[in-house]
Amino acid sequence: MEDLKERIALLEDYIMKKCLWQFHSRAWDRKTQNENILKKATQLLCDESVELETPADRCYWADALSLTEAFHSRFEWLAALSKEDIKQLMEGLKERIDFVTITGSLNAELTDPRY
């Protein structure tokens, strides 16, 4: 379990320092971004097919692929994980990113109904 937490922390640190997609200005946008990009990233890491039907899908996928390429190049231990382990890891990562950027965020503008 400690191992899982440490690994999630490493992935979280990468996302927080290198990515911007998780920081859209409103809670609903952050939710959609986190959900779609991390879902597609999980599919890519597990060699599953990824939906690319709409322009929005392609945009999420571009961010997701860029993320998974960076994960692979930085975290060699990722290659040794089973698909089950990867799914567990990415679930934990999503919970953590949702917490830091949405549910636990102190940003008072997240719930402003207008852009």
């Binding site: 290198k18 911007l20 322009p55 929005a56 392609r58 102190l106």
Partner: protein
């Protein structure tokens, strides 16, 4: 993350919640500075006003437009000397600035008549320019001048002209950021969708939140063109008024400065279904990732990769020459809004400097989230600082250099801290691979300037070493470097031209088959 209370601001207790220190093992949910609030009375802010944010940051970089302030001439202060958003039409928008020259009598009797007279006069003086933006200012907003009605009257009388009215007087928000918001929303409501897009390529983007500071936009456009990507419009640096009316025709919105322009991207997504991709033009790794993502979106990632490989091979040895000499130098990263997060991590990673403080003059809490997430533990993050807080932070943190605007920059010089202009740059452009090396060179020259070393000596107090000769920057920077680094045959100083933009304007680009 404990809040940080400045000694100088103890008499303004509300200021305490505007500064935090990033603590070990803590995240953004522990503490976040307040942001985008009215400046607390008693704190002399470094902010600009909402009119300034609308006109001088976002409106005026549009190049083929007469930009007219409806107010006193003083409101047009920010022009050629203070702003550096250049354009490829001989900088028309910087060279000429217009105001309706409102005086006391107009405040008493109304200024609509003088406004109309000025609009017509300006169009007659520049018959080749058929587009105009008009900015409401404090005085004319307070007397209730109906600028829209006057603009409509003129457009009826002169059918070949088009006018955009921006109602963002100085008091319409806590800072310039209020003006960014107002002009974004006004532009999409009034102008987007009023011109048919001219689509010439298979892959079409709007380049949003880019202001062509010393040529930044032209550097990035060069990469896009080399990828075969059509830039339908740039919001707004070096951008054209009519192209910006056709933003609805793009396949993708590529966003750089989210602080000033995410509103229009979000609205374009809602209204026209155009996705928003946040990118970064600063730093080798973020820029490479950004070009690759645009390539992936369109399925042309190999074109992006070719540019990344070529540019990295050309410029990385020069970046690394500076990195060796900048490692461990302490930086206060004190820009206006977006650069605290664009630069915080990549400066540390690619130039080896330590960011000891980030601040934002007009950023929102979202900017602080990104900035704090990207800087290292121990950094001091401050929202809307005042001059005394800036001085106290510099006295305490003892930075080797600060990146900020020219007003706080001059204050820093007085206590012998060198500064680089984070808004308008020193010797930009700073975007692009070459631009990032130019930035590294400016940092190097700022820190190791022999003149700056002399500034540390106080002739009324210190003994002046008259027996030693003059030292060069390289003598100062290389004193503790290993022989291997000093005599490296791969690392080298910047070898680009003084002007890195003019050649781009003459370039021809390959045509790609679909």
């Amino acid at each position: 993350m404990p809040y940080h209370e400045f000694e100088c601001s103890k008499c303004i207790p509300e200021r305490k919640k505007h500064a935090v220190v990033k603590g070990p093992g803590e995240d953004l949910t522990h503490a976040l500075p307040l942001g985008y609030l009215n400046t607390i009375p008693g704190s002399i802010s470094e902010r600009g006003c909402a009119y300034c944010g609308a006109k001088h940051v976002i409106g005026t970089p549009m190049k083929d437009v007469i930009h007219l302030s409806h107010g006193p001439t003083g409101c047009t202060y920010d022009t050629w000397q203070t702003k550096r958003y250049t354009s490829d039409n001989d900088n028309f928008q910087l060279k000429y600035t217009f105001a309706s020259d409102v005086k006391e009598k107009h405040i008493v009797f109304g200024a609509e008549k003088v406004l109309k007279q000025n609009i017509i006069e300006a169009f007659k003086a520049f018959p080749d320019i058929k587009r105009m933006t008009i900015y409401q200012t404090c005085a004319t907003a307070l007397i209730g001048d109906d600028v829209d009605a006057i603009a409509d009257e003129v457009m009826e009388e002169m059918p070949d002209v088009d006018i955009f009215v921006c109602n963002s007087p100085g008091f319409a928000g806590p800072s310039q950021s209020g003006g960014h918001h107002k002009i974004n929303i006004a532009w999409i409501k009034k102008k987007v969708g009023t011109v048919e897009p001219k689509i010439t390529g298979d892959y079409v983007i709007n380049y949003v939140g880019e202001y062509n500071i010393q040529g930044d936009q032209e550097v990035m456009i060069d990469y896009f063109k080399r990828m075969g990507v059509q830039v339908l419009s740039t919001f707004t640096g070096n951008g054209s008024y009519d192209e910006l009316r056709s933003m609805h025709g793009a396949h993708l919105n590529v966003l750089e400065c989210a602080r000033s322009a995410e509103y229009i991207c979000n609205e374009l997504k809602v209204k026209y279904g155009i996705p928003r991709l946040d990118i970064e033009g600063f730093g080798f790794e973020p820029l490479s990732a950004s070009l690759r993502k645009i390539g992936l979106f369109f399925g042309i990632e190999e074109r992006a990769q070719a540019i990344i490989n070529e540019e990295t091979a050309r410029w990385k040895p020069e970046l690394d020459w500076y990195k060796e000499r900048l490692k461990g130098k302490k930086v206060c990263l004190w820009p206006g809004g977006s650069k605290l997060w664009h630069w915080a991590n990549v400066l540390h990673e690619e130039m080896g400097v330590d960011i000891v403080s980030v601040y934002t003059k007009f950023g929102h809490q979202g900017d602080m989230e990104k900035g704090i997430a990207r800087c290292e533990v121990g950094a001091l993050a401050v929202d809307d600082p005042n001059e005394l807080e800036g001085l106290e932070a510099m006295m305490t943190l003892k930075p080797d250099i600060i990146f900020t605007g020219k007003r706080p920059g001059e204050v820093a010089k007085k206590i012998r801290v060198p500064y680089l202009n984070a808004h308008a740059y020193h010797n930009g452009p700073y975007k692009g691979y070459e631009g990032w090396v130019r930035f590294a060179r400016d940092i190097y020259n700022g820190i190791y300037s022999p003149i700056h070393q002399l500034a540390h000596l106080d002739i009324s107090r210190d003994e002046i070493p008259v027996g030693t000769g003059f030292q060069t920057a390289k003598m100062l920077s290389d004193v503790n470097l290993s022989e291997e680094v000093v005599s490296s045959t791969t690392l080298r100083q910047y070898t680009g031209k003084y002007d890195s933009i003019s050649d781009l304007r003459k370039k021809t680009y390959p045509e790609f088959k679909k």
